[in-house]
Symmetry: none
DNA sequence: TAAATTTTCAATCATTAGATAAGTTATTAA
DNA sequence: TTAATAACTTATCTAATGATTGAAAATTTA
């Protein structure tokens, strides 16, 4: 019984082999292609459970593939893990803004690969964007109906913006969000602010959360994430 | 906009996933917990619209949870659907005697689950937000039948709108409501007024309530709430 | 270690709520 | 029906609260 169908796109055969070998071993069914065109065609026809996508591709490149899939209702739900060369922060950010779900920088170990794949698939399974749902994570209880956060039965007051940011991040633990994504969610699209503003809210959040502040993690050069 | 808040308690993650997946899909907001203690705590603070309760739980078991909630004036109105293993007739009977509203035997199909949930919610609708229910909270007695509010045996006159706002807020102490929600409830949906109109009524309410006015709390940037 | 990024902090700016008054609409009594 | 009264809404001003910025310090990364 296969655990999931994974489509992998990379122009380097070595990488494809590495991915195929390690994921097959774990029971995933892996399809490998070497171009963006093939990726699009197979993604649309097979609707894989996950797409592992190299951003540097000849022809239609990874960013394009990501954009096209995420803008098509049929394929937007396919989770995407990007593969990037180290230091390509701008690509990572573009990809995340495009809707990609996670990224791995090359070179990577099989352990990392497997961990990310599992994490993304798990998150996808229980992802619900319900702003009124109670979020229970670690020792936090985020209760939107009461606009209240409790840590081990102690209540903490947050301003509206702080609360929303916390809720946004905690909704998808482990996912990285850029500052722009955070502003977009919290203040509405194209709200004109400096990214610094987000940092200040993050600081306030961490401070008020006290020892639980450590759950809000900085991803250097990319954004923030709530610890899984 | 969620159709209702449903709290689900089970120690098996699979069951929780099954419930969450199927009910979320239908537009319900689902919170999952794995122990009786958590269930009690969230049920009391959040007053969900429905509790789906496994009877076999480690620690405080389902029957206990049911008894405790049904014996507390605050939570007795929360409808409860029990989950039981096939053949546990005596548990089912105990549960029903305790005040549970329905039961489902495991294993169950999503269709059955949904049907029962809908049925129970339909039966219970309005009973919860029963506009004719007498509300006793702190030193206030709100009697909708007589359109009368008294504080420590002193009788206070309110206008129609003021009364309804007070009733609306006091119905769910601790919950924050936006001005928009208040107008919707009190004047009907899409009633064309400025949100600031609510503020003026709040001022009047607080003034007339005198020292009890402090129970109506402002949540800056969000709305108003009746102190729990 | 240098460069880039994040954190901190204080000053400034913007938004939100409270108080009060004035203007509208609805209700009641003559 | 009209006049008087009450209820409701809007407007304005002020105070309080929260959000944003920019610059310096600290930290992280290459």
């Amino acid at each position: 019984m296969p655990k999931g169908n994974i489509l992998t796109v990379d122009d380097e055969e070595d990488i494809l082999e590495l991915v195929r070998y390690n994921l097959s071993k774990e029971g995933y069914s892996v399809t490998c292609v070497t171009s963006g065109e093939e990726a699009l065609s197979i993604a649309r026809s097979n609707l894989p459970d996950l797409l592992i996508l190299d951003l540097m591709l000849p022809g239609v490149d990874g960013i394009d593939v990501c954009r096209i899939l995420k803008n098509d209702q049929k394929t937007e739900a396919i989770p995407i893990i990007m593969l990037t060369a180290k230091g390509e922060e701008s690509d990572i950010i573009t990809g995340l803004e495009m809707g990609a779900d996670d990224y791995i920088t090359k070179p990577f170990s099989p352990r990392i690969l497997l961990a990310r794949v599992k994490a993304v698939l798990r998150r996808k399974r229980n992802e619900f964007q319900d702003k009124s749902r109670i979020i229970k994570i670690h020792d936090l209880l985020i209760n939107p109906g009461r606009h209240e956060v409790s840590v081990k039965d102690r209540h903490i007051d947050f301003t509206r913006t702080e609360f929303r940011i916390l809720q946004f991040l905690a909704q998808r633990p482990g996912w990285v969000f850029t500052r722009y994504q955070i502003v977009d969610d919290v203040q509405g699209e194209d709200y004109p602010v400096t990214e610094r503003s987000v940092d200040v809210h993050i600081v306030a959040l961490r401070k008020k959360l006290g020892s639980s502040g450590k759950y809000i993690e900085t991803v250097h050069g990319v954004g923030y994430r709530f610890k899984e």
